[in-house]
Amino acid sequence: MNVRGKIAEITVEFHMLDLATLVLTLIWGAAIGCIYVLLATGLNLIFGVMKLVNFAHGELLMIGAYVGYSILTLTGVNAYIAVFLSMAIVALIGVAVERLAFRRVLGSDKLNEIFVSLGLILIFDNIAVLVWGEKSKRIISPFENMSLTLGEISISYDWLIAVIFVIVILIALMFLIKKTKIGMAMRATSQKSQAAKLMGINIEHIYIFTFALGAALAGAAGVLYGIIFNFNPYIGALPTIKAFAIIILGGLGSIPGAIIGGLLYGIAEQTAVITLGGIWRNAVAFSVLIIVLVLRPKGLFGEKGE
């Protein structure tokens, strides 16, 4: 079941302009948006606490997809259990990245973070090619080719499960941030790291934890992405940019903003693909990004943004 094929089918149907297509566009847009929401939330968390922008965040998604793929081929577990294993492994990779690379440029020139990210993109891309090859792969889910049919609309189970997964993960994250001690420490560090330090919070540990958490979200997004789309070692860059577009839509540092932004963005992208053609899929991200930045540099919902 190829997504591109499905989209082509829809493009044909769209000219008939029926309601079912419109509903499907909205649902697919929302489902695609959900995966980007995970990535955007991870970026937002890391930015909020560490004031660091990780341009290589999409590479963690790519690595997450491959880790999920390897777990599946090596152990044969259910693809949706692989999501959790992949989260754990990508979190560890995140810790390594934070300790070895970003920690050392934190607080220096902002451009240095961009340069380190670019180096990391090169490193991750080419490690992935060397280990897993250049051919595109897909994670086979247990619900392959199954879909829920409601009248004229049929929705693949994988899309629905992806949406449910994202909702569960986001609720768990909200709980972690609002109700637990470490979440409180993260919020304190985010507000004023020096004061948090004086209150006895080990901000180094908070940084590691935050980065690992952001990486874990990217890992989860990666496996879900791999179930729905084909992936290759070079898919990382575009999701990063889309996540950025979402963050800008929703306002920097705001998690509810990222969720609304993600859904809006997914729907906008899907609508553009159907009305303008697949060639516009990626240009939409940037058009949204640039238009929003021109009209409202702080994002649609952002108040305190940078």
Binding site: V105, I114, L122, I290
Partner: protein, 344 residues
């Protein structure tokens, strides 16, 4: 702005002698070793010197662009299309291409000057993707998807090489004077602390826009030269690789210095041109370790470049060019020590 005195002082500086030496060496090398591949590589070095210097000028004002390939591509496409459709000689066309590129740079700059570093990086990157999409979309005008053969600028080989060196030298000199002037000082002030620059009365938006326009002009110039050098252009010129290359060159060479992009482009072009020769040796040794890929060489090279970039940023923030004064001082200290021992 440039009084005679200032120009004289510049001429007497060490950098000026180094510049003369570099020009002299680059003029003599092809005469000594006339290998066509070497000339090809040297021409690429000259081209990328212009391109990386233009990126570096923009970065010196604190604006790190991730989409400079857009301007490289615009310069190349405008110059080649003008030559093919209107018969404008490429030697004029490359400058028209740069002016057009600077015009687009001005428009993009209007948005970008208000943005923080990471948003700017994203927007410029996005602009290169939009440019790529537009060129593919209007294929009947641009012929971008399949590409086309570009007309001859100057005869290829040695004469193109000298032309490229001439333009590279002129560009570097112009960028040098800009960076040493009051404008360049303002760029550095904005880079160090934008809000404080604003407080002392600098119109930061205006100066950042200057940086954008000047930088995209030279990027367009490099693009025109590049298109006529390869004798072929298509939409892949907008690829992200082309946006990252000038960044890597400037950062590895030394960000914000005049010699950084030159050293960086020599290093990177040399790596990309001469290391593939080793691929055949590398493959039998490492090929069995990575069964998924047929040729390990290119990937290992890019991996190495990534590690190189990260290591330089972390351990050598001022780039490879910052090693030169260190080595110089070290030898001076050594000779002094030796002299002291002799005296005793």
């Amino acid at each position: 702005m440039f009084t005679k005195e200032i120009i004289l002082r510049r001429i007497q500086s060490t950098k000026f002698y180094i510049l003369i030496a570099v020009i002299a060496i680059s003029t003599v090398i092809p005469l000594v070793a006339g290998d066509p591949f070497l000339i090809h590589v040297l021409t690429l070095m000259a081209l990328f010197t212009i391109y990386a210097s233009s990126w570096n000028l923009l970065a010196s004002s604190g604006q790190g662009s991730l989409g400079h390939a857009a301007f490289l591509g615009i310069g190349g496409f405008v110059s080649s299309l003008l030559a093919i459709n209107l018969g404008i000689p490429p030697i004029i066309g490359i400058f028209m291409g740069s002016v057009f590129s600077a015009g687009i740079g001005f428009l993009i700059g209007l948005t970008c000057v208000r943005l923080k570093a990471w948003f700017l990086a994203m927007v410029t990157f996005g602009f290169s993707v939009i440019a790529e999409t537009l060129v593919s979309q209007f294929d009947d005008v641009t012929h971008g998807i399949l590409g086309f053969r570009t007309p001859l600028l100057v005869p290829s080989g040695l004469s193109f090489y000298y032309f490229a060196v001439l333009l590279a030298t002129l560009s570097v000199i112009v960028i040098y004077f800009i960076m040493k002037s009051k404008i360049g000082l303002t760029f550095r002030a904005i880079h160090q602390n934008e809000s404080e620059s604003k407080m002392i009365g600098i119109n930061t938006a205006k100066y950042k826009l200057y940086a954008f326009v000047i930088s995209t002009f030279f990027a367009g110039l490099a693009g025109g030269l590049y298109a006529h050098f390869l004798r072929y252009i298509n939409v892949t010129v907008f690829a992200a690789d082309n946006s990252f290359t000038p960044l890597m060159m400037s950062v590895i060479g030394g960000l914000g210095t005049i010699e950084g992009p030159i050293i960086g482009s020599i290093i990177i072009v040399a790596i990309e041109s001469y290391l593939p020769i080793m691929d055949n040796l590398l493959d039998p040794v490492l090929g069995s370790l990575f069964p998924e890929v047929s040729f390990v060489g290119p990937y290992l090279r890019f991996l190495g470049l990534g590690v190189f970039l990260v290591v330089v940023v972390i351990f050598l923030p001022k780039g490879v060019s910052s090693l030169i004064p260190k080595i110089h001082n070290y030898f001076r200290a050594e000779t002094k020590k030796a002299n002291n021992i002799e005296r005793k």
